[in-house]
Every structure is written in C-alpha cells, then in structure tokens.
C-alpha cells in the first residue's frame, strides 16, 4: 500500500512538473508567500512609517520607492509586503482549518452514511447555498471589528462545507471497494479503516480542494474589505484593505464621486499582487487536479 501510494505521489509530481506554466505559477506563488512571511525582515521598521518630507509625500514609483508613496509618505511596497503577510496568514490558516473540519465531517458522512450523512450534508447544503460574501459580512457585522484570527475562524467556520462535500463523495465511493472489505475482514476498526486506508486515498482530492479554498478566501476577504467590513487598515494592512482604502480616498463611496487626482500606484500595485496570487492559485489548483486525474482534467 505504502509503495503504491508513493508511486501515485511520484506520478502526480511528475505530471505536475511537466506543466511549465503551473510550475512557474507555483514558484511565483511561493516567492510571494516567502516575501510576505519575511516582511518584518525586509522592512524591519514596519508598515506604518510616515515620512512627511516634501520629497516623500505622494510620490509616483521611483528607484527609491518602486511602488511609490501614499499621501502621508508611507512606502506602498512595504505596505504591500505586510499586506501579503496578513492576507496569506488569513488565507492559509483559514483554508487549513476549513480543510481539517471538512475532512472530518466529509469522512464521517461518507463512511457511516444514513442519518449522520443526511444531517451533515443538509447543514453543508445550507451553508454552501448562501453567497459566501454575505455569510462573511454577516459574521463580521455580528462579531464586530475583526482581527486576523477572527477572520481565520470565520472562514474556517463555514468553508469546511465545500471540502466536506467532495471528501464525502470520494469516501462514499471508496467504502464499497474490496480493499475496505479486506481490511474489515482482518478485524480493522472503523477508525483504522478511515485513517489508514480511506483518507490516504483522498489526499489528492483534499489537496485540490484546499488549494481552491486559498484562492476563494483571498477573493472573499478582499471583497468584504471592499465593503469596509474586513480587517481595518489601522490594525494591519491586507491586500484588500490597501486597495479599498486607496480607492475610497480617491473616489468616496456614498456619494456621486468626483474625478480624483490620478494616484493610481496606491491601489494598482496591491491590486496587481492580489490578481497575481489568484492567477497562481488557479493555475496550480488546475494543474494539481489534472495531475491527479489525468483522464478528467479541465486542461
């Protein structure tokens, strides 16, 4: 079993590596994540260093400030790096919690079936039938101004339903197979069958679903911050609140906007990094899916 699994993993890796675009996307994604994680090393003075000297206020991109500076002289590149750090913390931790809960719920529902399956899947249906943006907004409005750990718990708290559905479907199809009957005949307990025999076979499905979750959380988080309800920019910069704060300064939301002075660099660079993360996640997710399921790949 172990060698077969290793063989499958090696085959998947080989298929993935044969896609240069996906491989490049993975490298870019990892580079962005590492850049965000090392933000405090790259810019040890933090994200809120204000420089009110006339040469630093509201400057377009230059060698000294590659992403320019904002209206109070803060470096947009530094703020974007710290924004990446916050966004990646929320997205990776939120996706990890959602994946863990989703695997537990999906495995129990798929393996035991019956009323447990019906109850868990109806709860999952109820959650997934609601627009994720509305659910997140509702949770934030109810709980109050969020910190990153609140957002992680909110995303983990409902996005498990997405993973649970795919894991449940996969486990339900596997539980009827001969190797499960064989394990049962040898006296294996339900827990052992689930953990040792079934879950390792669902690893690829979980990986693909978790990768998609990272992208979804980044997107929903940015959209919610656009509504001014995500992480406040005063607590920590995130890619969503950097774009939104800059655009609000420029346009205003609640009245008919007036043409702004074109300080495009303040929102464009964080916005581009946001788009780059989403492109990379989508490419990597699709390539993983294709590598794991070569016959049904979206391609």
């Amino acid at each position: 079993m172990t060698s077969a699994r290793r063989g499958l993993a090696a085959q998947t890796l080989r298929r993935f590596a044969r896609r240069p675009v996906a491989l490049s996307a993975l490298l870019v994604f990892v580079a962005i994540l590492v850049g965000g994680a090392l933000a405090h090393v790259i810019a040890p003075n933090g994200w809120n260093v204000i420089d009110l000297s006339p040469t630093a206020l509201h400057r377009a991109p230059s060698f000294a400030h590659p992403f320019g500076t904002d209206e109070i002289g803060r470096d947009v590149l530094v703020r974007t790096l710290y924004g990446v750090r916050t966004t990646e913390e929320v997205a990776l931790a939120g996706a990890a919690i959602a994946a863990l809960l989703g695997v537990i719920v999906g495995a129990l529902a798929g393996y035991y079936g019956g009323w447990l399956d019906a109850v868990l899947m109806r709860v999952s249906d109820l959650i997934t039938s609601f627009p994720a943006v509305i659910l997140t907004l509702a949770a934030i409005v109810y709980l109050g101004e969020p910190f990153p750990h609140d957002l992680i718990l909110i995303f983990g708290g409902y996005m498990w339903a997405v993973v649970a559905r795919v894991v449940r479907a996969h486990i339900a199809s596997l539980r009827e197979q001969d190797f499960v009957d064989a394990a049962r005949a040898l006296g294996a307990s339900d827990a052992r069958i689930l953990v040792r025999h079934l879950l390792p076979n669902v690893g690829g499905t979980i990986l693909v679903a978790a990768t998609a979750l990272v992208g979804q959380i980044v997107l929903i988080d940015a959209t919610v911050e656009f509504f001014y309800y995500g992480l406040p920019a005063s607590v920590a910069p995130s890619l969503g609140n950097l774009v939104t704060a800059a655009v609000q300064v420029k346009f205003g939301f609640t009245s008919n906007p007036t043409p702004g002075a074109g300080s495009w660099w303040i929102w464009l660079f964080p916005g581009l990094v946001l788009v780059l993360i989403l492109v990379c996640v989508n490419l990597v997710g699709d390539a993983l899916d294709a590598a794991l399921n070569p016959t049904t790949a979206r391609g």
């Binding site: 939301f253 989403l278 979206r298």
Partner: protein, 338 residues
C-alpha cells in the same frame, strides 16, 4: 414537474424561515436599532431590540405577518420610511440578468471556439485570457473600468454612465427618491442600458473566464464520445457535429455549473453595485448596516432590513438552483426531476 416545484417550494420556505429566524434572533438580542419597524413595541427599541429569545421570536412573527401586505419592507427611521427593498431588488435583478446573458453568450462562444480549435494558438490565447479574467476580482475590475470611463468622458465620450441609476437616488437613511431628468419610457430604458452595460461587463469577465473553461472541458469530452465519431462518419460538417451534437450534450453540465455559481455572482454584484452607485442591494446593505461613511465601523443594525436582505439573497440563490435543476433535466432526458 408540478410535484418537483411544490417540493422545492416547501424546502425553500423552510430554508428561508430557518435562516431569517436564526439571524433575526441573533441580531435582535444583541443590537440596538436606531430605526424601528411599524411593529416595534414602544420602549424596546434601544438597547437591545429584544432582551430574550421569546421576545425576539414575537417581533419576528410580527415581521412575518407583515410580509403579505408589504408592510415588513418599510422601516421607520427618524420619521422617514426607509428600507424600500423593492427598487433595490429590481436594480440588482437587472444587473444580474444582464450579467447572466453576457456570461452565457460569451462563455458559450469562447468555450466552443477553444474546444473546436483545441491545441491551436486560439485555444492557448483564450486559455491565458480566461485565467487572467478569472483572477481579477469583479470589484477591482469595476474600479478600473470606472476609472477608464472617467478618463474618456473628459475627452467627450459619454456613451456609458459612470455612476448612479437613472432618475433614482438613495438617501443616507436608505430611502429612494426620484432625482435627475426623466424622459419617456424609451429614453428611460436607454438610460438604464447606459447605466448597466459597464457594471454588467465588470461583473461578467471573471465568470466568463471560469465558465468558458468548464464548457471547453465538457465539450472536449463530448467531441471524443462515440456518438460524435458516428456523426462525423455520417459525413456531417464539423460545424454541425460541434454545435448540434457535442454542444447540446455539454449544455447540461455548463448550465448547471453556471447557475450553481449564482451565489458567487450575487456576492460580487453587491460590490459592483456599490462602485457604480446602482442603488441596488449592495448600496442598501451598506446604508442599513450603517458602518460606512464615518469610517468607525458599524454603529447600529436594523434587523428588519437585514432580514429582508438576507431573505432576498437566499431567494435569488434558491431560485437559481431550481432553474439549474430544470435546465439540466431539459437538456439531458436521462435526468429526472425529483
């Protein structure tokens, strides 16, 4: 079909009742409301709206009883009737309808072209474009397109509206009032088209990228199926093989995926609505939760208005899922409506 619709209606009512009751109790027992509904008993408006769950349940029941007459959708705030959900519902519905049409036709055209020319430069270019489109959040694209419109309008290009819904404004208290010039019906419809086109494009692009890929993949499976080979062996032209034999069989998967994605489209529509000031559910949501403008987070919550918005969101998504099931059954005769 009738039995199916009846069963889905019962299920929809149960879901709506559960969601609205749960959220009402949560909001009413925690938040005060600067606004009151016509049903709010004197003296319980502040704070919180309801002290206990039974009190909240009683207020909820009052709200439910006011739905048939439409009274539940009018909330009094400072003596002014607010939360007129109907106009917002119409504006968002129009945006969603226009978006659905654009996504449907564009994704069908691009997905079919990519599958029919799989492996060609067309396919590769479309693939790159679809990944890029898929990754741009609709609110960001809306901001960029609005910026572009603003720039070109300074050079005399005024085909599309930059902000607002024709002849309808939304007050800070959530009330709609007539504003701007009004013309005849044809002129009004033209103005609506001017206001809707760019927001609908901004909302569509990401979903065109995603769903053209779905269609391409399901079409490729259909184009390799034995019945397609038979159609080719009969000497049918490739256009007929693709459009009449393969595409028809791929439509079930495509339509189902598109309609099941409706929740995501709805969420994104709220943000696009705010950018372009369409005074739809997104604008109303921001007004009702009262957290925008002052920049100091939410100040109050109006449970009656929130209920209506939640119920509307659920209604849109449930309706889309029912349409998806009917569409799949009509495209694929093997599927039975149960």
């Amino acid at each position: 079909m009738t039995a199916f619709l009846a069963r889905r209606l019962v299920l929809a009512v149960a879901v709506l009742a559960g969601v609205t009751f749960g959220s009402f109790v949560l909001i009413a027992t925690k938040f005060s409301s600067q606004c009151t509904s016509q049903f709010t008993p004197a003296g319980v408006a502040n704070p919180p709206l309801a002290g206990t769950v039974p009190q909240a349940g009683s207020l909820y029941w009052d709200w439910v009883k006011g739905i048939p007459s439409g009274r539940s959708f009018g909330v009094v705030c400072g003596g002014e009737t607010t939360s007129q959900v109907w106009p917002a519902f119409v504006h968002t519905g129009a945006l969603l309808g226009a978006t659905a049409l654009i996504v449907l036709f564009a994704a069908l055209a691009l997905g079919t072209l990519a599958a029919a020319r799989a492996g060609s430069a067309w396919d590769t270019s479309l693939r790159g474009l679809s990944y890029a489109a898929w990754a741009v959040p609709p609110f960001l694209l809306a901001i960029i397109l609005q910026s572009v419109l603003r720039s070109v309008s300074r050079h005399g290009f005024h085909w599309f509206s930059i902000y607002g819904w024709p002849a309808s404004c939304l007050s800070g208290a959530g009330a709609f009032y007539p504003c701007g010039p009004t013309g005849g019906t044809a002129h009004h419809l033209l103005e609506i088209l001017r206001a809707l086109t760019v927001p609908a494009v901004a909302l569509s692009v990401a979903f065109i990228g995603l769903h053209s890929r779905y269609l391409r993949s399901s079409l490729l499976v259909a184009l390799n199926a034995p019945y397609t080979t038979t159609a080719r062996a009969k000497g049918l032209p490739e256009r007929t093989v693709v459009l009449k034999h393969a595409l028809r069989n791929s439509l079930a998967t495509f339509t189902s995926a598109l309609l099941l994605d409706f929740g995501a489209i709805f969420g994104a529509a709220l943000a696009v609505d705010v950018v372009f000031g369409l005074n739809g559910l997104g604008s109303l949501l921001l007004t009702e939760v009262g957290g925008v403008g002052g920049g100091d987070g939410p100040r109050y919550l109006n449970p009656y208005a929130i209920e209506t918005l939640l119920a509307t969101a659920a209604l849109f998504v449930i309706a889309a899922s029912v349409v998806a099931e009917i569409a799949v059954a009509s495209f694929d005769p093997r599927t039975k409506l149960r």
